[in-house]
Amino acid sequence: MDVIDTLAGIASGSHLDTIRRTRRPTAREHAQKSYDSLFAPADFGGFTAAERHAVAVFIAGLHGQDAIKAFYAGKAGNTAAIDAEIAVATTKGPYGAFPKGPLSTEDTAGPIYRVGDKNRAAIGPRLAAAFEHVHMLVFHPRDADARSLQSLLDAGWTTTEIVTLSQLVAFLSFQIRVVAGLKVLAAKS
């Protein structure tokens, strides 16, 4: 079983296990390699294991996926401050603005999240900047601009670390959806 099997409850030899292994073996293998490269890389660089897992806990929490959140929480240390932020930061997406023009009629308003004063010290400035960026990527990715990346640089993230952080939130957006989708399908098989 790989991580997606574990999170979706796909048993070895089951109908969906067979589809994953026989029809899309390379996608199965490399979804797992993506996970391994993000959460157990040979070299973490300046983006620590604890930070990666804390961000994953926040992302899974924002999706309302408690079992996936618990999976990542094991290596995230104390998540009390993160849990408190998830409770106030959770909303519905995707929202956001389009470039000005004909699509502006489709602009949808929504909150711009900032880490609360109460938990800011416990989370720390570097992770706080990451959480604010991650919230935008989860709920309103079309609002992203170069200034969002500047906020991360200002908080001490390097360009390479920002690439990895971006991959981490984007990959989890994929993994969480695959797991949710396969769970529904498994229940209907």
Binding site: H63, G93, F98, P99, E106, T164, R177, A180, L185
Partner: protein
């Protein structure tokens, strides 16, 4: 050297969804083409991607880039059973339309139109959005992609029933889940690391 963002200005900003060719301008410095390590070059999978700022930026974390790319290619190009290529591309285009990724939507709307020959329906999806009435089968695939893309995820048993009712077997439904989910990965990278502009003629 302190890292910096790259201010992009003076370019045309596409303000509608389109099947036209677009370029993409990075907000962070890609690895220079002549500075790429062997590992970074290998992580591109397709050597021609060394011309792309997007892939040379992602090559800063080569292991993740290579795994991402091989996942992508199997979901969309593996012809062993499952959903026809055109409809995998439809799921990608619908996801991109809902998230608002004009660049991704342009690429995958082109592929969907090419493989399906249903250019008018693809253009209707781009113009009207994911509520566009296409036909029963495409509506079910678009609705499933939307439900997988929303946060919280609203995909449920009714979507599986609707996909089965229009002829999809479980191999094909797994492809819908993979394709829509993968574009929730791709859209977030494309939207947050740079921006589109019309391709130079």
């Amino acid at each position: 050297m302190t890292d910096k963002t790259i201010p992009q200005s003076g370019h045309v900003v596409p303000a509608v969804f389109t099947r036209d060719m677009l370029d993409w301008l990075p907000w962070l410095e890609p690895v220079a083409a002549d500075q790429m390590s062997e590992r970074q070059l290998a992580s591109l999978v397709d050597a021609a991607r060394v011309k792309s700022d997007y892939f040379r930026l992602l090559a800063r974390d080569p292991d993740v880039l290579e795994a991402r790319t091989r996942t992508d290619k199997d979901i969309f190009y593996n012809a062993d059973g499952g959903l026809p290529r055109a409809e995998r591309e439809l799921a990608a285009a619908a996801t991109s339309r809902l998230n608002g990724c004009i660049y991704c939507a342009s690429v995958h709307a082109r592929f969907a139109a090419t493989y399906s020959k249903r250019t008018e329906d693809v253009d209707k999806l781009l113009a009207e959005g994911t509520g566009a009435d296409l036909d029963k089968r495409w509506n079910a695939i678009v609705a499933a992609s939307v439900a997988l893309t929303e946060t919280p995820i609203s995909f449920g048993p009714q979507h599986v029933d609707a996909l089965r009712a229009v002829g999809l077997d479980d191999d094909a439904i797994v492809d819908v889940i993979n394709a829509a989910s993968f574009f929730n990965w791709a859209n977030r990278l494309m939207l947050s690391l740079g921006e589109p502009t019309p391709a130079k003629a």
